[in-house]
Amino acid sequence: MRIRLSAETVHGDFVKQVEDISGQNLLACNQCGKCSSGCPVAFALDLLPNQIIRMTQLGLEDVLQAQTIWTCASCLTCVSRCPKNVDLPRVMEALRQIAMERGATPMYAAELRPDLVANAPQMAIIGGFRKFTA
């Protein structure tokens, strides 16, 4: 399948929305890969952090289908190391919010394992719900 790039995609509404919600200039990222090199959950991701940024830069909206944006733990290692100070956690948050706005439901209270909910400190439940529900 060919991907057609145009001004409408690379500077279109999707890119603008992500930049607006995250407050980041996506094109500052030169894809050096340092974020991916240090990401602790990289082993559990389908797309690496730098690839998420890359797809978003190009306006490829299927980035919203990636598991990565829901597995990000907001550890902030990427932004601490990024040579261009691109705030990836904020970009991930923007993508999550847009995905949820479009109907994604990554976390259902009823589907959570009861033992995890019972045992985990409530800060995990509060934090998790604030990240993964609209």
Binding site: N30, Q31, C32, G33, K34, C35, S36, S37, G38, C39, A42, F43, L47, L48, N50, Q51, T77, R81, C82, P83, K84, N85
Partner: protein
């Protein structure tokens, strides 16, 4: 117009400029802060892209400088003050205390043999040792030693007013050239033009804590690895890692360590690292046939003549594995050094248990270069601390000060061909000035 030039810095730029001017019949005062000349090129094993032996191609020039009737060499010296006007500068040169009478000294080397006090050798980036009385290297020009007060026990006992200690060099010197009473001296020279060729240094590892902050012995910078590769280096050219002397099998080169990093390092590209890393990887492979070199990079910059072909050689012919992804973390794990990088091209985060890691540390202006802090020589600097040319495109050799010219890595990181070209360019400017005055 005084037909003499001052050249500050005796790396390859200063050496080239001095020879061009001197060979045209004019006098040169060449000032160098180190005890001997040659700068960083003298530390290299081989040069890219030809893989010529650095010492072999440099020695004819350093020897020529040492013997040239038109060049007066002031090593272990610094420019203290400049006054006057273009065509008629008065330069005060501070000659640091050598504690050795160089007029007498024959360079026999007995003092260095007999001296019992050792220190990490700066020339070997701390990987080898030198004595309290030392020359930078066996091929030093001039091949005469200086005494380092930080290490010399005799000088320290004099300073504390205690009973005099050691004095081995004094005892064994056949020409009676050791002089612990010597003090620094000043010399005044009159010159018509000045060439500033103070070169570069490397960004310190302490500024990169995520790469170990300089605390991991087997994480070294590229100049240190160059010394390991060098036949005149601390291991005689055998690749042995600093921690245990073992031959490293898995060797990781980390490019852009500090460069291209406006947030934590320097914003610019240091220009030479892609090429010297390929060179070092090739040289390593030649010495350790079963070794595996890896290079983590962001982009490969190989614009010079024969450069792209050189990179291809490293990749295709020498089996160097190139991984596109900046390294995020380096730490010790037992006797291995773990490197966390990625390969963005295949979309994988990767980890290598390395035996040795070489960092391409960013090139920065030589900190103690006195060009811009010398009274009377207030050279304009750019935002990164390099000398600012009066016009970046059309007058790269000209500084903001009339009669003062620039050459080499002090303006910005560059390779040897460009450095030599600039040195000759600056020399041409000087000769032009001298010629003009004849009209």
């Amino acid at each position: 117009m005084i037909n003499r030039a001052l050249v500050i810095g005796a790396g390859i730029a200063g050496i080239q400029a001095s020879l061009d001017i001197a060979n045209s019949g004019y006098q040169v005062a060449l000032v160098e802060r180190q005890p001997s000349i040659g700068g960083h090129m003298a530390q290299l094993s081989e040069t890219f892209p030809t893989l010529d032996c650095s010492q072999c191609i440099m020695t004819p020039r350093t020897v020529e400088v040492g013997h040239h009737e038109n060049i007066k060499l002031y090593t272990y010296s610094q420019v203290a003050e400049v006054s006057g006007t273009p065509g008629d500068f008065t330069v005060k040169i501070r000659q640091k205390t050598k504690y050795v009478n160089w007029d007498n000294c024959t360079g026999c080397g007995v003092c260095q043999e007999k001296c019992p006090w050792k220190a990490p050798a700066e020339f070997d980036r701390g990987l080898g040792v030198r004595k309290a009385i030392y020359t930078l290297s066996p091929q030093a020009v001039p091949n005469k030693p200086v005494v380092n007060p930080d290490v010399c026990v005799r000088l320290q006992s004099i300073a504390k007013g205690e009973k005099l200690k050691c004095g081995a060099c004094l005892k064994f010197c056949p020409t009676n050239s050791i002089d612990f009473q010597q003090t620094e001296s000043f010399v005044e020279v009159h010159v018509g033009a000045i060439v500033v060729a103070t070169g570069f240094d490397l960004f310190p590892q302490t500024r990169l804590p995520e790469y170990g902050g300089g605390q991991i012995p087997d994480v070294i910078d590229a100049l240190a690895f160059e010394r390991l590769l060098s036949a005149s280096g601390p291991t005689g050219g055998q690749v042995k890692r600093p921690s245990d002397g073992k031959e490293p099998r898995e060797v990781v080169f980390v490019q852009c360590s500090g460069s291209r990093d406006p947030e934590h390092g320097v914003p610019y590209c240091s220009k030479i690292c892609c090429m010297y890393t390929a060179k070092q990887a090739i040289l390593y492979k030649h010495r350790v046939h079963h070794g595996q070199p890896y290079v983590f990079y962001i982009d490969i910059r190989a614009g010079g003549k024969g450069y792209e072909e050189f990179i291809n050689r490293a990749q295709q012919d020498e089996g160097v594995v190139y991984l596109r992804g900046k390294v995020s973390k380096i730490y010790r794990d037992g006797d291995k050094v773990m490197v966390w990088g990625s390969d963005t091209l295949s979309g994988r985060k990767v980890e290598i248990a390395a035996d040795l890691v070489i960092l391409s540390m960013a090139a920065v202006p030589a900190i103690s270069a006195n060009g811009h802090r010398v009274p009377g020589l207030e050279l304009a600097l750019d935002m990164d601390g390099f000398y600012q040319s009066s016009d970046a495109e059309l007058a790269p050799m000209e500084s903001n000060l009339p009669g003062v010219f620039l050459a080499g890595a002090g303006i910005g990181p560059k390779d040897i061909p460009e450095t030599v070209a600039q040195a000759s360019g600056a020399a041409a400017k000087v000769l032009g000035m001298f010629r003009q005055a004849l009209r």
